[in-house]
């Protein structure tokens, strides 16, 4: 099956700092999403981004499908950004969605 690797696995940021999270995948994909799982376990959609660049407030994402990676940028981080960030991909020709292991982010005041 498709492999999804996320880095870094853990990240501690001072409030106000910027960060970049990376997702590498091993095969062509139809679908790529970034999620934030909050401390209560709810998965919140951040971006649906099989290719290209999108921005939403302090967050932006870029997927380069031909090179099989995606980046999530968090600027001016806030304590409410803490949680686990997941990349999830759907391999072309399959319905099954594969998640990475996530990046655990802690933003400290």
């Amino acid at each position: 099956g498709i492999q999804v690797e996320q880095s870094p696995p853990d990240l501690i940021l001072q409030e106000g700092a910027n960060s970049t999270l990376r997702c590498n995948f091993s095969d062509s994909v139809n679908n790529l999403q970034w999620f934030h799982q909050n401390p209560w376990g709810q998965l919140i959609n951040l971006f649906y981004i099989p290719s290209g660049t999108k921005q939403n407030g302090r967050l932006s994402a870029t997927t380069v499908a031909t090179e099989r990676y995606s980046l999530l940028y968090i600027s001016s981080s806030q304590t409410t950004d803490s949680g686990v960030y997941f990349c999830a991909v759907e391999r072309r020709g399959y319905q099954k969605v594969t998640f990475g292991i996530g990046t655990k982010l802690q933003v400290i005041p």
Binding site: N31, E90, Q95, F99
Partner: protein, 115 residues
């Protein structure tokens, strides 16, 4: 309308009991997915429905796991003779159209603890 809802939110079962977990997708969403998330891990795919048809059940870990969506809306994940290794959060997601072409929206999950 409202987002994806799941019930119960928490379930404690004694080993050997049967459990049933319910998912109410967003109204009008064609596709429905079940995932299992162990502590500290990412969600793992269990099964996928397009309307009432179960198109992929390759992720179900054993024949004790069974899912249905008889009218193409509400879905139930049933686990028979629960084992301790079944303890996890079970997540349901729905999407507007067929898999591969639209984003998935997740429910809050059901945390199952088998004692």
């Amino acid at each position: 309308g409202a987002g994806v809802s799941q019930s119960p939110r928490y379930k404690v079962a004694k080993r050997g009991q049967d459990v049933a977990l319910r998912c109410d997708p967003i109204s009008g969403h064609v596709s429905l997915f079940w995932y299992q998330q162990a502590l500290g891990q990412g969600p793992e795919f269990l099964t996928y429905f397009q309307n009432e048809a179960q198109l992929d059940k390759s992720g179900l870990p054993s024949d004790r796991f069974f899912a249905e969506r008889p009218e193409g809306s509400v879905s139930t994940l049933k686990i028979q003779r629960t084992q301790q290794e079944d303890s996890a959060v079970y997540l349901c997601a729905s999407s507007l159209t067929v898999a591969g072409s639209y984003e998935q929206y997740f429910g809050p999950g059901t945390r199952l603890t088998v004692t």
